[in-house]
């Protein structure tokens, strides 16, 4: 069983036929560090399941500075939902920071899947709902915890992100400057 099937099996009760059915819809690809999944101005026509790898999801603010929106660490799903589901040009870009293993689901196949029957429509809904719950929790974390607390949790829970993303990008992800993050790192160097 591959990482994609394992993910589905753990979150939903699915038969082995169901798991085969899923595997038939996704295409497995291995890509090197630096691969662009999507870019600003493109319509994102796929959902990516990251089996393994660290990805940088970012855009540019009014001043033209790169702003990190998300640092993904598989296994998890990744796309620009607004671009994908409403067929709009994306405002963001997403690039691999490590060699990665991905499972790609195109919009055609996604539509076919969720129109097959109620079960798949509900699974899609549940995955989106779980993502929303995670984002709401993230918003809670951002508004209640300090930059330092969040950095230390990242070190603990997502070491691959710390190892593969630059200080600048991590600082941007945490909503601070690279100098301030440097001060935090220096202070916690023995921890």
């Amino acid at each position: 069983m591959n990482a994609l099937q394992l993910f589905f099996k753990e979150s939903h009760q699915l038969s082995s036929d169901d798991l085969t059915f899923i595997a038939d819809h996704f295409e497995k690809v291995s890509v090197p560090k630096g691969t662009v999944l999507f870019e600003q101005g493109e319509v994102v026509d796929s959902v990516y399941f990251i089996a393994e790898g660290v990805l940088h999801h970012y855009n540019f603010n009014q001043e033209g500075e790169k702003v990190t929106l998300e640092l993904h660490d598989g296994p998890c799903f990744c796309t620009d939902l607004e671009s994908f589901s409403e067929v709009k040009k994306s405002k963001d870009a997403c690039v691999t920071l490590t060699d990665s293993t991905l499972y790609v689901l195109t919009k055609d196949k996604y539509d076919a899947l969720i129109n097959t029957n109620l079960k798949w429509a509900h699974i899609a809904k549940d995955i989106i709902a779980k993502t929303l719950i995670k984002m709401l929790d993230q918003l809670k974390v951002v508004s209640t915890k300090s930059i330092e607390q969040r950095y230390l949790e990242l070190v603990k829970n997502k070491p691959l992100i710390i190892q593969n993303a630059s200080v600048r990008d991590i600082a941007s992800y945490l909503g601070t400057s690279r100098e301030t993050l440097h001060r935090i790192r220096k202070k916690n160097i023995f921890a």
Copy 2:
């Protein structure tokens, strides 16, 4: 046609039979200022459509301070998705700050609705997806704009929130102290 039906009609193509079908599932209630929709420790068993009214969605951090998660201004949906969809105790509370008109959908009726056919399952999915897109955008705004910019946009776009929420709660919503928000208000008093 009521506010609920108008909301559904604008976001999805629905027949008048569909709109009647929806109205049969929701119950309209008018509640005074100070009404508790749900509280910490309760399982939230309904989705609320806010036709009119301002609501305060908050919880308490480790230090026991009230933290504002959201200030709702109808028309929009409101619930604790994690508590509602996974039947867990809520960590948050939600209270009306004005007299409000709500349409209530209980979990039983919600389940009946989304199991009726693919159409309703897709509509539920689309509403959740739109909420997710809105929250992702909110996270972008939080990480790219200053407190002052966000306050001024709130004044412009959501005057009812400014009029009905306390300075303390708005400051908490923006992620700052009431003193800092006061400085911003003083500076922009003529704008």
